[in-house]
């Protein structure tokens, strides 16, 4: 990042404000590209993972090698589709909802620490900011469901809103023990505190068992937060047709799709950052691996875990989902916060 600033203030001859704007625009473009790329890769990966789990192959033809170009072809196809807006729909809201959903996940990408010196927006409230902006997705889903003027979409939206608002609480609560250990909300500080190999990562149950539990709380809550199986209430293909995006076609639908996979990778990266040592290599001798690669590999592994869960388990019912959140996960994560605090006090780990 410093290199970029030096480039713009030095060689390009800008003042500091100009350099800020230049770096910000560059980062925005870069993040959007990476996000779109991720969505495309994960779409393909999901199909392959699902295929192999279901004793079939998944895409095999487009692009010859294991159908690697299938997602690209799908994107091109979806671009050429007719953009249908239902006659009775609330047009403004209907058009704005997918953008808002995408915005919610894209904004959060700004604070992701890819490498020691590479984060689009490096600031002290990073973690708080990520949780705050990712809540925008709920509003988008609710808007999409309401404005579609379709009862199934409305059902999906109502379920989705209830689910996502509820699961934000255990999601954020699970992150609190990590913040307590680090003493900072800055993503970079959280990662730096986990220096020194796998036994210094926050997930290590010997260092602090409550952080270990918090990781699983976070993982379960993140599945619900990304609306994926077994918690895919807003979509529930077999009950609500397609949930909140029943009426969407073409590019607007692609936006929802894009945001689902962007969100999936986002929560995996946050889990990596909070519990799995971020861009640190697992063992000290492996420092030759580029930090960004470490980070991405861990994120992709978590994404794979997520897909594994999705293609294995049946879906829970909406009231069971709420029960799990309010009566199991929230008390447990509160307990985690208290337990982690006491543990840190006992062993003098508190910052």
């Amino acid at each position: 990042m410093q290199l970029l600033y030096d480039f713009f203030t030095g060689q390009a001859g800008m003042d500091l404000a100009g350099a800020h704007i230049a770096v910000a625009s560059l980062m925005a473009v870069l993040m959007f590209t990476v996000m779109a790329l991720c969505a495309i890769i994960f779409t393909w990966m999901e199909r392959k993972v699902a295929g192999f789990m279901q004793s079939r192959y998944g895409p095999m033809y487009t692009g010859r090698w294991h159908g690697w170009a299938q997602a690209v072809a799908d994107m091109l196809k979806i671009l050429g589709k007719e953009d249908i807006i239902p006659g009775e729909a609330d047009k403004g809201m209907f058009q704005f909802a997918p953008i808002l959903v995408l915005l919610g996940s894209l904004l959060a990408w700004a604070a992701i620490p890819w490498a020691p010196d590479f984060v689009a927006a490096d600031f002290d409230l990073g973690l708080f900011y990520i949780f705050a902006v990712s809540s925008l997705v709920v509003i988008g889903i609710l808007m999409a469901g309401w404005s579609s003027n379709n009862k199934w979409a409305l059902y999906g939206a109502a379920r989705g809103a209830a689910q996502m608002v509820s699961y934000e609480i255990p999601l954020a609560l699970a992150a609190i023990p990590v913040v307590m250990r680090t003493g900072s909300l800055n993503p970079q500080d959280i990662i730096i505190a986990q220096q020194g190999g796998i036994w210094n990562w926050n997930i290590n149950p010997i260092m602090n068992p409550f952080l270990f539990i918090a990781f699983f709380m976070y993982f379960i809550a993140s599945i619900a937060e990304t609306n994926r199986g077994p918690f895919d209430m807003p979509e529930t293909e077999s009950e609500l047709v397609a949930g909140y995006h029943t009426e969407y076609t073409g590019m607007r639908f692609a936006f929802f799709f894009l945001s689902e996979y962007a969100n999936l990778f986002l929560v995996s990266m946050i889990a990596t950052m909070l519990f799995l040592g971020g861009w640190w290599a697992p063992f000290p001798g492996m420092a030759w691996i580029p930090p960004a690669l470490n980070f991405i590999i861990k994120g992709v592994l978590l994404v794979f875990l997520n897909m594994w869960v999705r293609w294995t388990l049946p879906r829970v019912r909406v009231d069971q989902l709420m029960f799990l959140c309010w009566k199991v996960m929230i008390p447990l994560s509160l307990l985690c916060v208290v337990g982690a605090g006491l543990w840190m006090m006992a062993w003098g780990q508190l910052k």
Binding site: K151, E239, W311, T312, L313, P314, R315, V316, D319, Q320
Partner: protein
């Protein structure tokens, strides 16, 4: 269907004022005819208050093809092909039901070998149908992967049935007085026995670990959509739906036809292991266990396959049926499938009435679906395992 207000938890029509002073009403929701959970072109008209269903009205007729009327225009052998299209997931059972009725009317004896082949193919068809039932029920619960596994095994059955009948899904295989073709001499019997062993010892345990005893699946299906024994009998439910409610009745044992009395197998009923007797999980597990029993029947039928003719030789292309009426019933994969044929002595039936199990099983939705959540209604409809081709005929 009465237009009486349906009361749920002491509340009914126009009674849904959650906020004092603000009038609210029930939401009218069309589930189907194009909907992933209705297993065909069934339309359920729901009245819901949020997630709770207050009233369910099944609307039928989207797949009506006048098959019974056609029976009055085509001769007896020609109509076999229409029975395939009733329960298109288990066409052999439908063939079987029809030809037994015609044979009863004619007083026609069937060679022993043909009966064995009929039993074996019917049971293969039943396994194929139950596999679809398990698969789609899992899909209704959001489990995708078992669907593909079940279809993988069903494919094997379709291959086997293709080798004996020439058709993969619609066989037109049984004719009055026997079966259309003999067992092919390309090792078919051994292949079926291999498949049956694989199914019973390898694949069924796989489904059980993946789906049947999954905690989420049990949570979703146990104590949901409970049909008690009295309701099941009152509504004329048959097949796995009736047995899931704990009623020990199976046409194959209690009203024996063909050669079922020769084989050793057990009727499976629901015991309410995970919840109450007659819940969705019971109906599901009855089907899973019936697959096992069907495997036993097939093994015995083919191991003791007698030599001899596979058709009654006296039959001509056009069968002549004396005047009279006959009713026979067989246990198809969905339940009791009956054919009532009235003949006036001509080449075609005077009237052919089909008693289809799915039609009777579906009615119970109107009673049991009330007061459930929308998701539970999906589970209930899925656990009834209806086939619209049979309901509308």
């Amino acid at each position: 269907m009465a237009n009486e207000p349906t009361m749920v938890n002491g509340r009914g029509w126009g009674d849904q004022d959650h906020v004092p002073g603000i009038k609210s009403e029930l939401l009218e929701l069309n589930m189907g005819p194009q909907h992933p959970a209705t297993h065909g072109v069934l339309r359920l008209l729901l009245h819901t208050d949020g997630e709770i269903v207050y009233k369910v009205t099944p609307v039928l007729g989207y797949l009506h093809r006048c098959a019974e009327k056609i029976a009055e225009g085509v001769n007896y052998k020609q109509w076999v092909v229409y029975t395939d299209r009733f329960d298109y997931l288990a066409p052999m059972c439908c063939n079987h039901a029809y030809v037994t009725a015609v044979e009863k009317l004619m007083g026609q004896a069937v060679p022993e070998r043909a009966e064995h082949i009929r039993v074996a193919t019917s049971e293969l068809s039943r396994i194929a149908s139950h596999l679809i039932a398990l698969a789609t029920f899992g899909l209704d619960m959001g489990a995708w992967t078992p669907l593909l596994y079940c279809f993988r095994e069903r494919e094997e059955i379709l291959n086997l049935l293709e080798r004996i009948s020439g058709g993969r899904m619609l066989y037109n295989y049984m004719i009055p007085g026997g079966v259309r073709y003999d067992v092919p001499n390309d090792n078919w019997v051994a292949d079926v026995l291999d498949f049956v062993d694989l199914m019973e010892h390898n694949k069924l345990p796989e489904y059980n670990t993946l789906l049947s005893y999954n905690k989420i699946f049990i949570e979703r299906t146990a104590d949901v959509g409970i049909i008690d024994a009295k309701t099941a009998l009152d509504y004329g439910c048959t097949g796995p739906v009736l047995r899931g409610s704990g009623v020990d009745f199976d046409c194959r044992r209690d009203d024996p036809y063909s050669v079922y009395h020769k084989f050793d197998w057990q009727v499976q009923i629901g015991h309410g292991e995970k919840g109450t007797v007659g819940d969705c999980w019971d109906r599901y597990i009855v089907r899973a266990r019936e697959i096992e029993q069907s495997c036993r029947i097939i093994r015995q039928a083919l191991q003791t396959l007698p030599d001899g003719p596979y058709q009654a030789l006296a039959l001509k292309a056009i069968v002549k049926v004396p005047a009279g009426a006959a009713y026979t019933r067989v246990e198809s994969s969905k339940g009791e499938l009956g054919h009532y044929i009235i003949s006036d002595g001509g080449q075609t039936a005077f009237r052919n009435k089909v008693r289809s199990p799915s039609f009777c099983n579906l009615q119970v939705v109107e009673k049991v679906g009330v007061g459930q959540m929308v998701s539970d209604l999906v589970a209930l409809v899925g656990s009834l395992d209806i086939v619209l081709g049979e309901i509308d005929r």
